[in-house]
């Protein structure tokens, strides 16, 4: 799946998906849940806490 396809499915800009991947933006719970729904995985399987969190 491309960034563009994912961004369309969860209703955000491609820039936001890109910033997410680069670790520059932390998604809201709603967006994290939407992304997990698209991939059919739980949020914990996609996102994890960093040391600084």
């Amino acid at each position: 799946m491309t960034q563009a396809e994912l961004s369309e499915k969860v209703n955000v800009s491609r820039q936001t998906i890109n910033a997410l991947e680069l670790g520059k933006y932390v998604p809201s719970t709603v967006l994290a849940l939407k992304i997990s729904k698209v991939f059919g995985k739980t949020v914990n399987e996609i996102f994890e806490l960093e040391d600084s969190d």
């Binding site: 491609r14 820039q15 910033a19």
Partner: protein, 173 residues
């Protein structure tokens, strides 16, 4: 999630243009008000408090300088028109939705607003200590819209930065 307090995206460009134009005209007007004397009609206005020739009453050279309370007075209205245009178009431009308005633009907007408020008051404090007497009126005039202006600059710059990073990333991949 619902977008509250934001104007439709289609208002953005036109309000930005009006904002720039009125800012430009206002600057020229402040530097040389005679330039616009032909399109600066003197009109009766209602003033809570104001200096000028009262509409009702005798003409007098000395009465112009005294303050009239709750009276109709004559006033040149071009600066009022320009200020109203500037503030309204500035508000609409600053708070128009992006083409794709999502939670990241919302966060950038919030951060820019906080930054602009801090920056604006920092500058104002500095000006308080650097401008005295009548020139301080210029500071007050600019302070009427400076928060909005700083916000717009900061927000647009942040969005531009994100887009640039995004484009660079696209070229890399």
């Amino acid at each position: 999630m619902k977008e509250r307090f934001l104007f439709p995206h289609r208002f953005r460009n036109v309000s930005g243009l009006i904002f720039l134009l009125s800012l430009l005209l206002l600057t020229v007007f402040v530097i040389d008000s005679d330039l616009f004397s032909k399109i600066n009609p003197e009109m009766p206005v209602f003033a809570i408090a104001g200096n000028g020739q009262p509409v009702y009453g005798e003409y007098s050279e000395t009465i112009i300088l005294s303050t009239h309370w709750f009276k109709f007075i004559y006033n040149e209205t071009l600066d009022e028109v320009l200020f109203i245009l500037l503030i309204i178009s500035g508000i609409v431009y600053a708070f128009s939705k992006e083409r794709i308005e999502d939670e990241m633009t919302r966060q950038i907007r919030l951060e820019s607003l906080a930054w602009a408020t801090y920056f604006n008051y920092f500058i104002l404090l500095a000006c308080y200590l650097l401008f005295y007497g009548l020139p301080f009126l210029y500071v007050l005039m600019i302070a009427m819209f400076s928060n909005l202006l700083f916000f717009i600059i900061r927000f647009r710059w942040s969005v531009y930065k994100y887009n640039k990073e995004f484009n660079e990333e696209q070229i890399k991949n």
